[in-house]
């Protein structure tokens, strides 16, 4: 729980002294190395600096792919992210994607509410990025000042004995018990539990991806290929449909199923491709267990308090 994000790409750190001498964009593979991006804005500024672009709308659209590639790379590395950190990155990635998409479309009139919303999102992102950039520059200044100030040592010597002797006799009225109470209070761990995202207000029945994956795995392993429609036919709620879809994505990543879809929006068929044994839902990535909307307890204590 020290730093929000400790892994970062091989990118210049915009605003820091090192950004001056960092080489231009490196061709070829995107390497992930240990550098220190302190958040999505930091990453974004880093990418923009790498391309020697000014912080503009154009720059944002240009670095979108790299930003997303970077997030994906982090996920592949199995970096465990706290939900709020990951979501910040994702929100910005989504906005960037919108921006890029808007640039690809022919320039037109702002017509519907979606366009307006996109413009607002773009302006907000742009403003936040500029604001962050300003504070980053000031942080660099603070860092330099603190460092140069560390070269000065204050005179803070013990009082000369003949002055110390002048001090009035100390008044000490604490009994050992009172003193122990002071110690206990001083040594008490400070409140350090990070505030958690409350999920009590969510009343949806908990649905576990693992659980649903097990159901799907059972059906597919022991039968013919099934359409997605058939696989969710018995789902009692939209939530279950969504979770089954997520479970299929997970299983696809595990390379135990394949999808077939002859044409866009046509029937999606799911086929088992894994070996009959050797797969279990336990193999699924654990990351979903931490997502509050799908509580981990769901698999062990299903829908106890959900009625």
């Amino acid at each position: 729980m020290t730093e929000p994000l400790t892994l970062a790409g091989d990118l210049p750190d915009a605003g820091s002294p090192s950004s001056e001498d960092s080489p231009t964009a490196r061709k070829g593979g995107f390497e992930v190395r240990l550098a220190n991006f302190t958040g999505p804005f930091d990453l974004l500024l880093g990418l923009i600096a790498k391309h020697k672009l000014d912080v503009t709308e154009l720059a944002l659209a240009t670095v979108t792919d790299e930003f997303i590639k970077y997030i994906r790379r982090l996920q592949e590395l199995g970096e465990s992210w706290a939900l709020d950190e990951a979501s910040e990155f994702l929100v910005i990635a989504a906005t960037l994607l919108d921006l890029k998409a808007a640039r690809l479309l022919p320039a037109g009139e702002v017509e519907d509410e979606e366009d307006v919303a996109l413009l607002e999102a773009r302006d907000l992102l742009f403003a936040r990025l500029l604001q962050y950039k300003a504070f980053k520059q000031l942080a660099a200044h603070l860092g330099e000042t603190l460092e140069s100030e560390a070269n000065r040592f204050p005179r803070q010597v013990a009082l000369e004995p003949h002055f110390a002797a002048l001090l009035p006799e100390l008044i000490w009225r604490h009994s050992p018990e009172q003193f122990a109470a002071v110690a206990a209070k001083a040594l008490e761990p400070k409140d350090t539990t990070p505030p958690e995202v409350g999920v009590d207000h969510l009343h949806g029945a908990p649905v576990s991806i693992k659980e649903q994956a097990e159901i799907l795995g059972y059906r597919l392993q022991h039968g013919r290929p099934l359409s997605f429609r058939a696989l969710v036919a018995d789902a009692e709620s939209t939530l279950v449909v969504v979770v089954r879809f997520l479970a299929l994505l997970e299983m696809f990543r595990d390379r135990v199923i394949a999808f077939e879809q002859p044409a866009p929006l046509s029937e999606l068929t799911v086929r088992w491709t894994g070996r009959p044994e050797g797969w279990s839902s336990d193999a699924l990535n654990d990351e979903y267990d931490d997502v509050p909307a799908v509580p981990a307890e769901a698999s062990t204590a299903p829908s106890e308090d959900s009625e």
Binding site: G39, L130, Q137, F153, P154
Partner: protein, 221 residues
């Protein structure tokens, strides 16, 4: 007897000692272990604050080798020109965190560092510096607000800054009830500045975004 008369009498009394009021002030500066304000020094010496301010400025200039550029002292350290007051002293007098204090001169950091190992603090991480910057410029400010600006959760970083004495709690926000934070005087001390006004202004870093604060205030929280 008026304060003014008191101060004049004080000055006259000190004037009889070797070195006078200036040396008396120096003597006091030798024993303080935290920055002392002009007022505290004046009260202790029985002098007026205007006189003390003048004496402090005088000492400061003198320690820096006057306004004259210091000629490189002879490498052989011969005592011939040792008394020349144009060479800067090895220490300086600075007004830091609202008080005056003697510091060793930065040029001798490597040499002095060999004698003063303790009390040196580790460098702040980039995340800590950025968080510190937001708090310093936006104080009093909640963690949520700092998070919004930095784009990441800052809870653990703020905790570290509090633990290191650079940041402290400053009550709660009347609306949201969240804890507010501000910078400490220890932060000023570490920055070597007398007050927050000495921080470089934020505006040049934020071109044409005057309205942004209100914007974010409305947007977030």
């Amino acid at each position: 007897m008026s304060d003014y008369e008191d101060a004049v009498a004080g000055l006259a009394a000190l004037g009889e000692r070797p070195g006078g009021a200036r040396a008396a002030l120096e003597a006091v500066l030798m024993v303080i272990d935290q920055p002392a304000s002009t007022e505290e020094l004046a009260a202790g010496l029985g002098l007026g604050t205007a006189v003390v301010d003048e004496l402090l400025a005088e000492l400061q200039r003198e320690y820096d080798g006057y306004t004259v550029k210091a000629p490189g002292t002879d490498a052989d350290g011969s005592p011939a020109d040792a008394g020349a007051s144009t060479a800067p002293r090895g220490f300086e007098l600075r007004n830091v965190a609202g008080g005056w204090r003697i510091y060793s001169r930065a040029e001798f950091a490597d040499v002095v560092g060999k004698f003063v190992l303790d009390g040196q603090t580790a460098r702040l991480t980039q995340a800590a510096l950025e968080t510190m910057a937001v708090i310093a410029y936006r104080q009093p400010v909640s963690r949520a607000r700092v998070s919004a600006i930095r784009g990441v959760n800052v809870d653990s970083v703020v905790r570290t800054l509090v633990q290191r004495g650079l940041v402290e709690e400053a009550g709660t926000d009347p609306e949201s009830g969240s804890i507010l934070y501000r910078s400490t005087s220890y932060f000023l001390e570490r920055m070597g500045i007398a007050s927050l006004e000495e921080l470089p202004p934020l505006s040049p870093h934020l071109p044409g975004l005057e309205g942004i604060e209100e914007f974010f205030d409305a947007e977030r929280m």
